[in-house]
């Protein structure tokens, strides 16, 4: 079984580029050039320099002593929350802004849900002095005011998506429509491992720095490069894709994904795509997505705005269908408790997205020798209001 993308842009049955002809020239330009450009020496040098000096990489691989004791295994946390802008998202936006420059693009567009990818995109646009427009659902704009303010301070224009449910799915539609209307000078920085090929692969490669570092960091700490398990939360799946990447072909490494069950997988208010989704097409790729029998895309729900997406990246659909990945889902309540637990055991307030990954311990018991690496994808500052409301702090 092959887990990496093939020449046609597929992961097994999933992926491809199901795009209207209006997008073909842009996507084709990217497809033909992305690998060539990103592996040029000067690109790699600038990318790694920025990751080091600007983002603050390598992010620590932290042995979580009290959490390990509690769950009787060896838990390591990959501290993406310590990156500049507070999450793993910036790894990808740094890569894509360099790509946009190489392609001679003068304007950047992006979609955002909770605002983390929007902030990470606005940040690199400020860094490079490039115009930036971020599409964000009208409802998300209202509930994520601090991130909207951050984007504005960074000089980005935040445009409300007024169509459909006015959340992430619709913000993505609006960004795609913008690209159709501005095909020549604009690059679209997609924030997750979704979209038409080559986006899922390109985003995954930029995020793969996470698993690249885990290998050598674990070698230093445990004397071996391979953990027994790598764990990540999945919405669209960019932090998970980066966390798994260098372990995909290492059979002895277990791959674990935790989705958002919302108020319960069968409650009608959930984002557990692997359980509830069916093969179909969303935002230009064939993947598992939540939809009606009739093929209309439905609205997901999660307390975490970053996991509130009706699809999952094609790599993850393949990991699920092939059985390579173990998929769990955690409810709002389970995630919130796990977030509080990490805060009180380790002194780290995680993003609520990440809290879902930490809720895994409710479902899976590890052996005492197991080395379990969990991607701590983001910090909880942006979620403080949700924590305050939930725990009545």
């Amino acid at each position: 079984m092959k887990y990496h993308v093939d020449d046609r842009g597929y992961y097994g049955d999933f992926g491809g580029a199901f795009i209207p002809e209006m997008l073909y020239p842009n996507v084709e330009e990217l497809r033909q050039n992305y690998l060539k450009l990103m592996y040029q020496d000067d690109f790699q040098k600038e990318f790694h320099q920025l990751l080091k000096d600007y983002v603050g990489r390598p992010s620590p691989l932290y042995f979580a002593n009290r959490l390990s004791e509690k769950y009787n295994c060896k838990v390591y946390l990959k501290r993406e929350d310590l990156n500049h802008t507070g999450a793993h998202k910036v790894n990808n936006t740094i890569g894509q802004i360099l790509m946009a420059k190489k392609l001679g693009k003068k304007r950047i567009i992006a979609e955002t849900g909770a605002g983390q990818h929007g902030v990470a995109t606005a940040t690199v646009c400020a860094l490079m002095g490039i115009d930036c427009v971020v599409y964000m659902g009208e409802i998300d704009i209202a509930r994520q005011a601090p991130n909207v303010a951050r984007m504005k301070m960074l000089g980005a224009t935040v445009k409300p998506a007024l169509s459909g449910s006015r959340t992430l799915k619709d913000a993505t539609n609006e960004a795609i429509r913008d690209w159709i209307n501005n095909p020549v000078d604009t690059h679209y920085i997609i924030g997750s491992a979704i979209g038409p090929h080559p986006y899922p692969d390109m985003v995954t490669r930029f995020q793969s720095v996470i698993s690249e570092e885990i290998k050598w960091q674990l070698k230093e700490k445990e004397g071996r490069e391979l953990p027994d398990y790598v764990v990540a939360c999945i919405g669209g799946g960019s932090n998970a894709a980066g966390t798994y990447y260098h372990f995909l072909d290492e059979k002895e490494v277990g791959i674990i994904a935790v989705e958002a069950a919302g108020k319960g997988v069968n409650s009608g208010e959930s984002a557990a795509t692997s359980k509830l989704g069916k093969e179909g097409i969303i935002h230009g790729c064939k993947t598992l997505l939540m939809q009606t029998k009739d093929g209309q895309i439905t609205e997901p729900y999660s307390i975490s705005a970053g996991l509130d997406y009706p699809g999952v990246g094609p790599l993850h659909s393949h990991l699920y269908k092939s059985g390579r990945g173990e998929f769990y889902s955690a409810t709002d309540d389970e995630a919130m408790e796990a977030g509080l637990e990490l805060t009180q055991l380790e002194g780290i307030i995680p993003a609520i997205e990440t809290s879902h990954a930490l809720a895994l311990f409710k479902y899976k018991t590890f052996k005492p020798d197991d080395v379990v690496v969990i991607s701590l994808s983001g910090r909880g500052d942006k979620d403080l209001q949700t924590y305050i409301d939930y725990f009545k702090l």
């Binding site: 491809g16 199901f18 002809e21 209006m22 073909y24 095909p183 020549v184 097409i281 939809q291 093929g295």
Partner: protein, 253 residues
């Protein structure tokens, strides 16, 4: 011979109208088709509404959302079109996004279209290579013409590939835009229309996007075989319901 091919052989410039099935009211679909034929339209594109119409501007988006809210589904549309060939003889094309077709089953969908007397499909997000590899044989077995789009940015090499794969007409998107985004044509469009005309393609071209009145219809068909009106007609339906369709069409040509 397929009704689309027959129509394309006629002398006059063709006027094709797009509307969203189940809009403004769920049961308006057949009425709109009949009224359009009576008004002398040459071809009709029946829009199968989708929750996430990426290539459409606000007008068609809103009509799709409304149609879905009205209760439109793929099965409902097929049920409404059950006796359509007893009522009209005009070429009928279903236009929509690929996911609803995929969920219905591509083969089952095509078979149903053949039974109902549908002549062609336009599925903007079904790419050329996937169509050729997986679905061409099915479309052909059911006598359906698949219509591909080109835009001002489409390279000549790709236009040639699309021309080779097409058996009806080529849908020429007038400018880099979503539907209903612009009105009126500039020098860029004139140059594009002339350039495509100069390629001497085997398939005639029909221009869509940005056509809303007599002036834009005349400009679009100065070189091309026909033109398609979508958003402007949806606006008419929003304002007038299924009345005065005749005067809308007469105002175009």
């Amino acid at each position: 011979m397929n009704r689309i091919n027959q129509k394309l052989q006629e002398e006059q410039k063709l006027l094709s109208i797009y509307f969203t099935a189940g809009y403004p009211k769920l049961e308006d679909t057949v009425t709109v088709i009949e009224e359009l034929e009576k008004a002398g339209v040459d071809m009709i594109e029946i829009g199968l509404p989708f929750s996430d119409p990426l290539a459409d501007g606000p007008t068609i988006q809103e009509s799709s959302t409304a149609a879905l809210k009205n209760g439109m589904t793929t099965s409902k549309l097929f049920e409404q079109l059950k006796d359509i060939r007893k009522r009209v003889s005009i070429p009928l094309i279903i236009m929509g996004y690929f996911n609803p077709v995929l969920q219905y089953g591509v083969e089952a969908f095509c078979k149903k279209c053949e039974e109902l007397g549908i002549d062609g499909l336009i599925l903007p997000d079904l790419p050329l290579d996937v169509y050729l590899e997986e679905y061409e044989a099915i479309f052909k077995a059911h006598g359906l013409i698949n219509v591909f789009l080109i835009t001002p940015q489409t390279s000549e090499a790709r236009i040639r590939q699309i021309d080779a794969a097409s058996e009806g007409f080529i849908y020429m998107v007038s400018s880099a835009s979503t539907t209903g985004a612009k009105s009126g044509f500039g020098n860029e469009q004139t140059e594009y229309f002339e350039r495509i005309d100069g390629l001497k393609l085997k398939n005639p071209q029909v221009v869509g996007f940005g056509i809303s009145n007599n002036e834009t219809f005349t400009a679009a068909t100065s070189r091309a075989k026909g033109a398609i009106i979508g958003s402007a007609f949806i606006k008419h339906l929003t304002t007038h319901g299924t009345t005065e369709i005749d005067s809308f069409v007469k105002g175009i040509r």
